[in-house]
Symmetry: none
Subunit: 410 residues, 2 copies
């Protein structure tokens, strides 16, 4: 038996007038998910607690049984791990953008024209940066204009502000300490030097000279944000005795899995959007389901969240239908899995962002108290036999269904 | 008005194919419980938290409002209190078996032929054991081959392993410290000496010489397990201002009540199984219900749990029917009680052990928001007006219904 948490990222929603006051999920035709519902048990879940708007990162940490209030200080560490930087507890990590600055150091394009090529060469240069003998600079390009920065050394702190000016027309923000510690002052100073030096090292870089020649905005400054300290996390396998694999599209979720010591895969053509290559996503999911080396899988399919952020209720509905047809058709009759279908949070198309609404969950296992709910939807699930649970309950419930959780007491 | 927590131990279950996909409780004819349901309010309860498989001990501690993660280190202290050893906070206590060892100290019968007579004389001898001046040995026989050991003294620890070899054909296990403390090393050494000396003191004991003559296995070694430190627990009456009594069949539950400072009773013929003397159980329950000295009662009837452990779905169903007919017929129309009917945990016949499934609860009180549920069952209760609560909520809810809980705030 294998345990699976299957996250349809951002799936939860609110009624949409244009969909006849149904949510995208309620409006979607999902015969395979409906069959799983009919034969199993449903409920709603507050991933963190009612009304809390979880990020995908804090939500997934919670679902895996880690307390985000303990281990989460920012997105940087997970993004860095997600692009295979070998982060270590205590490292200070950031997401970065390659941006374009003019001669007055004013940011004119936060995404450097969404640069696609050459960032590896720019990263090579940045990796040669030296600030002082104490701190090591580890830098790696990610997709398009994105990159990650890791500071490794003694006396560093994550208690600092962002450098991101948020909109064009401003200089990168001077990073400031958020507390009175020497560590925060020192780290802010290091990051400010990093931003300044990135400009000096990149402005005449061959990649940028070529871009300028082609009329493209140069990627001549690196702007860090999303600072966080890499947490010390008990590896998933050590915590639960279950060997885990994560099948996810985005670096953020892969990074969480990596920091938890789980294996990950890279799915060709997976974009994290509604245009993702779902055939490949399905193939990687089913390979992992069938791989006997693993006792546990975390799956994340991201398109519904993107559609939610875009306010695209049709896209969200249709994407959920596609996932149902392609993937849950394969899972619905498997009797060798304990399958927990959920979202990490709601992303209502009317909000275009995450909300604190609970998400609908299904628990499929060989022996559950089958309830009388017959379709998968936010309001149907609220009447299910699980009633209302929390994200931190899920790993307990899955281990109980797998019969691998130790008894507490006698 | 008297508050009652009525625990049908291990009652919760999962659907059983042979019962038409009903649980034993759903399948049982329980007209009296159904009537209580119809006139009151129901719900489901996670005694500790969803997915956690509680022991009966941790579950009952939780129901009484004690945090098992604080006060529970093992079963020994409650078993010892349950046979009237006057345990004190800090004592290290164990459950023990009288076992049979051969001349090479190999355990040939872990239960010494389920010895019925003479263990009091064996215990007298063991109580004369002297290990050193620091530690006092307190030993008492319990039912059949069972006994308890309490170590009292300075510098003792519960961080040690068991001596129980778990199966015949092995020597008693050498007890080892679980941490690096001097206390754990010392206590492990004391227990190892205890096991060795028990053999020396018992092997030629007259009770055993007689057993050997009769062709019965001698009870010539004592093997401790289930170590725990006796917790310091605020007495129930001091905690709540309610004088409490416990009517339970097993030493474990009685021991929990005793450590909480509650009165207990010994019910003749109560076995804790489905063959228990339910007439006597009923008599002791009703005597306590009618005893005006008590404001609160904890009741535990154990048969459904035993049937669950045995995988005996017919026995479980029939036992619940008997309890309904004999006992809830008496309670259903009492208007001088706040009655909370529950299980401590599920013991599904398909699992033959405790599971993390929630348990169905009823709260009967003079004024409740009567819901539309009309029968007592796991899935019916999941639709009840209480929704899903936790075991640690129960003493708050009962005190509120009794109108004896102070307002928090103004």
């Amino acid at each position: 038996m294998k345990g699976i948490i299957f996250v349809l990222d951002g799936m939860g929603d609110r009624p949409v007038k244009e969909l006849g006051d149904k949510t995208p999920l309620e409006s979607a035709k999902t015969p395979n998910l409906d069959k799983i519902v009919e034969e199993n048990i449903t409920g709603i879940m507050d991933t963190i607690r009612p009304g809390v708007r979880p990020g995908s990162d804090t939500a997934h940490l919670t679902l895996l049984g880690y307390d985000p209030y303990e281990v989460y200080t920012g997105r940087g560490p997970f993004e860095a791990a997600g692009v295979n930087v070998d982060v270590k507890p205590g490292d200070i990590a950031f997401r970065c953008n390659f941006s374009t600055a003019d001669d007055n150091f004013i940011v004119t394009d936060r995404r450097a024209g969404r640069i696609l090529n050459g960032t590896d060469k720019l990263a090579e240069t940045i990796n040669q940066m030296k600030i002082d003998d104490n701190v090591q600079i580890i830098f790696k390009e990610s997709d398009a204009h994105r990159a990650v920065l890791v500071l490794r050394g003694n006396g560093l702190s994550d208690q600092i502000t962002d450098a991101d000016p948020k909109e064009e027309g401003h200089k990168p923000k001077a990073v400031k300490p958020l507390d009175d510690s020497e560590e925060a002052k020192y780290t802010a100073d290091v990051v400010n030097q990093f931003v300044q030096k990135s400009y000096e090292m990149l402005k005449d870089h061959p990649v940028n000279l070529e871009r300028i020649e082609n009329g493209e905005p140069p990627a001549n400054v690196v702007i860090p944000r999303g600072v966080g300290a890499v947490p010390s996390v008990k590896p998933f396998e050590e915590k639960y005795g279950l060997k885990g694999i994560c099948v996810a599209e985005t670096g953020l979720i892969k990074g969480i899995a990596k920091i938890a010591g789980m294996d990950t895969v890279d799915i060709p053509g997976a974009t994290g959007g509604i245009n993702t290559n779902l055939d490949n996503v399905k193939e990687y999911i089913m390979n992992a389901v069938n791989d006997e080396n693993y006792d546990f899988m975390l799956v994340n399919v991201d398109g519904a969240d993107e559609a939610g952020h875009d306010g695209d209720y049709i896209g969200k509905r249709d994407f959920l239908e596609k996932v149902d047809k392609l993937i849950f058709s394969e899972l619905k009759d498997r009797d060798d899995i304990v399958l927990f279908v959920t979202a990490d949070h709601s992303t209502p198309v009317s909000v275009k962002n995450h909300s604190g609404d609970p998400v609908p969950v299904i628990m499929k296992a060989p022996y559950v108290r089958v309830d009388d709910i017959t379709e998968y939807g936010e309001r149907a699930a609220a009447k299910g036999g699980l009633c209302r649970i929390r994200g931190s309950d899920v790993m307990y419930m899955i281990r109980d269904a797998l019969n691998v959780i130790p008894k507490f007491g006698a």
